[in-house]
Point group: C2
Chain length 279, copies 2
Amino acid sequence: MKIGIVGLGLIGGSIGLALRDPRREVVGYDAYPEAAELALKRFCVDQVQSLEEVCQADVIFVAVPPSVCVSLLAKIAQLRGPDTVVTDCTSVKAEVAAWAKHAKAEWFVPGHPMAGHEKGTAAFASAWMFRGATWLLTPTRRTKTSATKVVSGLIEEMGAKPARLDAEAHDAHVALTSHLPHVVASALAAMSDGDAAMRTAGPSWRDMTRVAESDPELWTQISLGNRAALAETLGRLEGKLAEFREELLRDVPDAAVLRGFFESGRLAKVKTTMDKEPQ
Amino acid sequence: MKIGIVGLGLIGGSIGLALRDPRREVVGYDAYPEAAELALKRFCVDQVQSLEEVCQADVIFVAVPPSVCVSLLAKIAQLRGPDTVVTDCTSVKAEVAAWAKHAKAEWFVPGHPMAGHEKGTAAFASAWMFRGATWLLTPTRRTKTSATKVVSGLIEEMGAKPARLDAEAHDAHVALTSHLPHVVASALAAMSDGDAAMRTAGPSWRDMTRVAESDPELWTQISLGNRAALAETLGRLEGKLAEFREELLRDVPDAAVLRGFFESGRLAKVKTTMDKEPQ
């Protein structure tokens, strides 16, 4: 089996490392020769090839920035081998799914691994990146079942759990669980006013601002790609924070209201954590 | 040397474990016998004693909820040995510092370890809790230098770095670096609407909501103790989120504005991380 990876950054590089196996060939392409060079040096791929050659693989993982994903998929549609299955990794699925429907790309399985971190490039790629992670797939009605099956199999080999949902639900959900946290982390980090306050920063500050180090260009594209859903969750969060603040500013704040706020957060968090326990 | 710990929860228990040493005796007291029992079982203290006996220690760490701290300090002021040094661990220092000035407690060093996590009780106490953490001290003008020195020495033994600042600056800084993150984590966690969305939660959601599991009663007390400063940081955060949301909702959002938002967060985060590197 030949695996092709288009886009050799943190995610593409990690897919390469996670799928390395003597039984198969992993080849990669990146528009930036230095990125391809780095991925090769770090053993993320067995070989760097041209886009044309990579498109002859049995399965292609496309791991490129959202802004170029659809135009690249259109190119791959022209170049791919007759049985090549293709999947992508972008964080917003509406645009990609619309393209797939329009292009009648039954060989294409839109995907989104819920993994990654704030350090970019293949320099930080890891074979363990996807272990235990959920890997969302949003096949369209046109996507061939066999294509979804092949991609799911490789995802499981990487240690991740494939989960199917439709593109619209996907975008609404990740607006809350991924895009909103990134915006909040950036807003918080930007509030760090000077060294004096930062001397007092402990583990909660560190964790809450971790992803603020992510690539600004990538997150601009993601935010624009999921505008309406992201704006909706932002509005809801602002409302919750304002309610808490207004209670604090009352002449005599009601401790029960504040406690109720923390309790509902705690209950929801404990429930989520329990749901995630291994069965 | 005899160390006394009043309040044998997560923090008190961890202090006991961190200071265990054949050269000294670590004794503890907790108003709840089950809490004291648990701390003893987990080797957090060598002995459980009455408050009167614990007050004969050379140094006493008070690690109790904010709502009872001052009344307990007043009691300890009556019971303490003639040379006993006392320090506390509450997250808000204004009330404690005011009491110390009023009581002319020159033997008292207000303190606040920037450590801990969302799992409470001595069951989760750890000798490593304070390694590498900053431990803030806000001595009043009355606090004896020798008392601050003794407490600082023990803090360093636990692997933490003592740092001095005044109580007012402390409360303003931790409103941003600790209290705000806790409120935001709770608000986010409470938004987790059902299992469908939570299937898509990855590492950024997990980290951003980690501290939502903290004790609601404790965080209600902390929020009430630092009302004005916390409300101010909440208002600033709401403003930043609203700006981002309004840009998203424009007919044609300006990508440069969104990028600028993420960039300022990234720059601030990278700077903080670099400042924290070991010298």
